[in-house]
Structure formats: structure tokens, C-alpha cells
């Protein structure tokens, strides 16, 4: 059986500066995988490479299909949604418009019902549906970003630091929704997160990056237990 996402020996560079030197990871169908490591390890670059936002080489296969060199909008349409650094919402458009854009590639009649469903999941967004996204609080924007991404009904969701800058209660709310989506929809997730304890709670497996390479991988429970990992890479 082919995995949902397979990354092998991935390298990438920003101009002359090499950011990735050989990243390997696999996400199975419906699996949640945490991508951990210190600042500058290449976590964000790995996500951006998958989405065609950085020129990369090596192998990236989504359900067996090669993604290297594919334009971002095409990657998205294959069923990969990305909640990027900075959230990727449209600040000048309303909450409803942002959600409609999330479903841009879909032409089925259920879009409207799905949008209503997200308003039920995040009632705070429903209260602000006609407000510009840029006027929302950080937590509301993150909820909007997650809802926006999932409205494309992706098979794989890439999340870049969803807890960054959010109040603990909001973080809890967002992660509960992620757990629920995984359970209900079987959406695979690749989760970059500074807060390793939080990420490992949700994840089935984890990879640790350092200086642009995969240095460790295993089931989430093992990674959590490993003392040296915690000291060296997770800063705990």
C-alpha cells in the first residue's frame, strides 16, 4: 500500500543558502505526524517544499504521485491543504469570503452546508462572518485558517505552528477540533509545532529535524519518552 505522503532525501535552498540537506518522512493515510526540532531546523521549509513554494529536489510523493516541480495551486488541488506561517487568510476579505475561497476548487452542492458546519464548530467565526478577517483576534484568525484549509476537504493537512502566539485556552480549542477532524474525516496531518508536548499528544508518529536533516523518528509515545531527544531538540 502506498503511503499518503512520502518524502525521501529532500533538499531545498533559498538562493545560495541550503536549508534542507536530506529530510525523510512518511505520513500514512489518516495518520497525524508531528515534525519537531529547534528553530532553523527546516520544518517550515519542508512544508513549503511539499507545496511547491520553495524549489526542492529529492522525492515527494503524494499517494504515489510526484510533487516536485508542481505549482502550488496544482498541489492544493490534488488534496493537500496548508495552514502556513502567518495563517494565509485574506485580511481584507470577510470571514465568509475566506471560507468560500477555502472551497475554491470544489464544485459540489455541499459547500454551503460545510461552511455552516464550520460556523457551528467555531461559533466565534459565525458572530463575525461579515467582518474583515484582518480585524479578528489571533485566535479567531487561526480558527479561520484551519476552517479555510479544511473546507477543501483535503486528504492531507499541513499545519505550521498552529499554536504560535495563541492563548492556552484557544490552543486547546484548536487542537480539540483537529483531533475531532482526524477522527471523523480521517484527514492525514503533518504538524509542525514548537510545543512538542502538545504535538505529541495528538500525533501518532514524530520526526525530529536538526540542521536540515531527519535525525530521529518513531511512534509519538517513544519520542515522548526519549530523554535525550527532549534535552537536545525539544528544549525541555
Amino acid at each position: 500500500m502506498t503511503a499518503l505522503l512520502e518524502v525521501e532525501d529532500l533538499t531545498a535552498a533559498y538562493g545560495q543558502i541550503r536549508a534542507l540537506h536530506g529530510v525523510d518522512l512518511t505520513v500514512g493515510e489518516g495518520q497525524v505526524v508531528a515534525l519537531l526540532g529547534p528553530n532553523g531546523a527546516g520544518k517550515t521549509t519542508t512544508l513549503r517544499s511539499i507545496c511547491g513554494m520553495v524549489r526542492a529536489s529529492g522525492r515527494i510523493a503524494f499517494r504515489g504521485r510526484d510533487l516536485i516541480g508542481l505549482a502550488t495551486e496544482k498541489v492544493t488541488r490534488l488534496g493537500i491543504a496548508h495552514v502556513p506561517e502567518g495563517r494565509g487568510t485574506f485580511a481584507g476579505l470577510t470571514v465568509t469570503e475566506n471560507l468560500k475561497l477555502g472551497a475554491y476548487g470544489r464544485h459540489d452542492p455541499e459547500v454551503r452546508r460545510d461552511i455552516d458546519r464550520w460556523f457551528e464548530i467555531f461559533p466565534r467565526l459565525a458572530d463575525r462572518r461579515d467582518q474583515a478577517a484582518g480585524s479578528l483576534s489571533g485566535g479567531e484568525q487561526q480558527m479561520l485558517a484551519v476552517a479555510r484549509a479544511l473546507l477543501s476537504r483535503p486528504a492531507l493537512l499541513l499545519l505550521d505552528e498552529p499554536s504560535l502566539g495563541l492563548a492556552p485556552l484557544v490552543v486547546r480549542e484548536v487542537f480539540e477540533v483537529l483531533a475531532r477532524i482526524r477522527a471523523e474525516e480521517g484527514t492525514g496531518m503533518l504538524l509542525v509545532e514548537q510545543n512538542a508536548a502538545l504535538a505529541l499528544e495528538l500525533a501518532d508518529a514524530a520526526y525530529v529535524l536538526a540542521a536540515g536533516r531527519t535525525v530521529l523518528s518513531g511512534p509519538a509515545s517513544e519520542i515522548r519518552a526519549e530523554d535525550s531527544v527532549r534535552r537536545s531538540y525539544l528544549g525541555q
Binding site: 495551486e73 492544493t76 494565509g88 487568510t89 476579505l93 469570503e97 475554491y104 480585524s135
Partner: protein, 293 residues
Amino acid sequence: MERFLQVVVDGIADGSIYAALALALVLIFRSTGVVNFAQGEMAMFATFVAWALADAGVPLLLAVLGALVFAFAAGMVVERLLIRPVEGSNPLSLVIVTLGLFIVINSAAGWIWGFNIKEFPALFPRGVAEIGNVSLSIESLGIIAVLLVVVGLLWLLFTKTPIGLAMRAAAQSPSSARLVGIPVGRMLMLGWGLASLLGALAGVLVAHRLFLDTNLMAGVLVYSFAGAALGGFDSPIGAVVGSWIIGVTEALAGTYINVIGSDLKVLVPLGIIFVVLVVRPAGLFGSPEVTRA
């Protein structure tokens, strides 16, 4: 009083022509962040196409439609061939490309059609409509009606259709737009086509009033630019209202202030813009650049 109303309506009609070109400028500005200096020349060229078609015996309305279709296609080709390669680099390169385009199109039109002025046929019947005891020019009313229809259609396109929403998203944040699967390049191309079409509309509306030659749009571009700056360069509504204000003050000043007459009337709107921009740099309807930390 009757005279005053006539002057105001004529001013709004002039302003509506400026507004069509100003909308084109705003559309490009919102998606690329620069002013397309060649917008007026592209419009002039399309107006020549309408004239040439009409001259060859095509019925006027069809000739105008043909020119609008031509302008739409030409706008997309310009984006694809000339703008795309420098997109995302230094904004100055983009400005230089549009200036180069200005010169090339102006010369090309002269080369093809010559530099003599030509009479462009009237799109609207001559004469006046009597409303109460005020006689308003049918041409002026027709121009205003055309602009209102165009504004209505644009509003429908950008707020009620998925493609309009996608175009706004692509203009606002290209990287986020790609992440939701929007082909940003195609949206930009469409935007240039649409802007070119709006400019061409301004061209065919103004050509009968000014006569047609290769410098047809030079003056109009200045007024449209003024209207867009006055209304706020990132606001379509602002472009329309700003252009109307320019058209009306220009007409009133030219009529009622003797010293000004028709030679100096351009100074009045420019004076207003100066004051507005000192007080409100983003323009009347523009949004100042504010981001939430």
C-alpha cells in the same frame, strides 16, 4: 439654475469617462501595486480599432463591441508577454515596462493610422432631452447611463461570482491564493484584460467629444489619474466618485469663473486634489495601510 444643472450633468458625463479609465488604473494598481502608464494609450489604440472597423463599413455598435473584445484580448496578451516576466521583481521595472509600452503603442498607432485627427462617429443621437425646463444633452445622459451599467456589472462580478472573489483574493495575497488553488497568473491576466476593456470604453466614449488622434487619451489619463488619487487608489468606488468630482468642478470652474475659462480649468481639480491629499493622503475612500500586529 437651468444652466447650472446642464453644466453639472455635462461635468458628470465627462467625469464618467474619466471614471472608466480610473477604474482600469485602480484594477491594475490593486493587483500589481503600480500604475499602468500605458492604460490610456492602450485605450487610444482600441478606439482606433473601433474607428477603422466603422470606417470599413461595420455598423458602429458592432465596431465598438469589436474594439472592446480586441481590448480585452490585447490586455491579456500584454500581461502575459510583457508584465509576467518582470512581475514580483522591483516595482520600478514594472513602471518602466508600462512607460515603454506607452511609447510603443503611441508610435504604432501613428504608424498604422497616421497622425491626422479623425472624426469619430457619435454613439448617441444629437439633441437634448427636456426634463422639466432643463435641456440635458442626450449624449451626456447616455455616457452616464453606460458608466452606471458598467459599475453595476463590475460590482456583480467582484462580489457575487466565484471568479470575482478569486480575482480579489489573487490581488490581495498571491501566495495565500495559490494555497487555496487559485491560478494567480490567470487571474492577473483576466484583470489586465478587464482593465484594458474599461479603458477602451473610455476611449470610444470620449473620441466623439475630442476628435481621434494618437494623443486622444493624454488629457483623459491625467484627469483619471487625478480622480483615482482623489478617491483613493485602492478603491473602485473612490475612483468613480473622485472622477465625478473632478469632472464637475472642471466644468463649473470653466463656466462660472471668467479668469479661468477653458484654458486654466485644469488647475481647479488639481488644486482640490492637492488639498485633499494633504489632509487625507489615502484619498477620500482609500484605506490607509494599517495592519494589525
